[in-house]
């Protein structure tokens, strides 16, 4: 996933959490980058018509920005679920975050063919816990069985 898509996904998630425009500080924090870097990239995304940035108010994704952010989020959900279901990775959240930039959507689509993903994806993603709520539920059930 390229950097622009990672930003779009981060803005989308912050907007979900804040229920309104995303502050650039919160986007920078989520991506672990400096506010200056976040501002620069948000400016580029705005130039591409993917978001609107109003000073002191925050960033709002456009319809196209939302669509790309949701695709990026879906790819991320595939990576998390693939690591959990197929490779049995315990730290799947942390590893998904690390691997996300190098797993392209065509690759994610292929990985998707061997996992069980629910049709409501990516709406089931919980930005607070950084994981699909359904996957978190499966994880809790698995731990309860131990």
């Amino acid at each position: 996933m390229n950097t622009a898509n990672q930003y779009l996904k981060a803005i989308y998630l912050v907007q979900e959490m804040e229920n309104g425009p995303a502050s650039t500080g919160a986007v920078a924090e989520l991506l672990d980058v400096s506010p200056a870097s976040a501002n620069e990239m948000i400016g580029k995304l705005e130039g591409d018509g993917l978001c609107q940035h109003e000073k002191y108010k925050g960033v709002d994704l456009t319809a196209e920005g939302i669509s790309r952010a949701r695709d990026a989020l879906q790819n991320y959900c595939i990576i998390e679920r693939f690591l959990f279901e197929v490779l049995a990775v315990e730290e799947f959240r942390a590893e998904a975050r690390q691997l996300e930039p190098v797993i392209d959507e065509t690759v994610a689509e292929r990985l998707d063919t061997i996992i069980d993903r629910e049709p409501q994806c990516p709406d089931c993603f919980d930005p607070e816990t950084d994981v699909c709520a359904l996957l978190a539920f499966e994880l809790d059930a698995e731990q309860a069985d131990l």
């Binding site: 989520l30 590893e95 691997l99 930039p101 797993i103 392209d104 065509t106 292929r110 990985l111 061997i114």
Partner: protein, 159 residues
């Protein structure tokens, strides 16, 4: 979420190579299943799929050999094969079979291409010699590119 390099340690490299192994396993299992079960296939297509399955098995073993030197576990092929079979119904007509094979080869090519770029961007030191690692991945990428070309030629001839 992080914008840092995804390949900064042996562990992360091993994980990415494991994903490559799974992708090759998917190609191998699907091509073998098509070759064995699709009724509409002629001898040329069946031979092509059998060869594609064998090539993916070779790629998988080459990746496993790299992961082994990184001292990380791999997932047994039987488990992946079962997963692929559970989730996937084989196409019966040859257009579907060839299209699926094309997607498989293109996906593997894209994966190796992105992985090579990520390693080149990273300044990490791995247990495997960097030049040797890149040469091995570049060879795999080249073979996938040839695979894409072969499927495309086969598809054009059958139009």
């Amino acid at each position: 979420m992080s914008l840092q390099s995804p390949v900064s340690s042996d562990h992360q490299l091993a994980r990415l190579l494991q994903i490559g192994i799974v992708l090759e396993e998917v190609v191998e299992a699907r091509a073998a299943k098509h070759a064995a079960e699709s009724e509409e296939l002629d001898d040329e297509l069946r031979a092509f799929l059998t060869e594609a399955a064998a090539e993916s098995a070779t790629h998988r073993k080459r990746l496993e050999a790299l992961v082994e030197r990184l001292d990380a576990e791999t997932i047994p092929f039987d488990e992946i094969k079962t997963l692929v079979e559970q989730q996937y119904e084989a196409e019966q007509d040859f257009d579907g079979v060839l299209y699926d094979q094309l997607c498989n080869e293109e996906t593997a090519y894209k994966f190796y291409d992105d992985l090579i770029a990520a390693i080149e961007r990273s300044d990490a030191t791995f247990s495997v010699d960097r030049e040797e690692l890149l040469a091995a991945l570049e060879a795999l990428r080249e073979e996938e590119a040839q695979g894409v070309e072969e499927v495309t030629t086969l598809m054009e001839r059958r139009e």
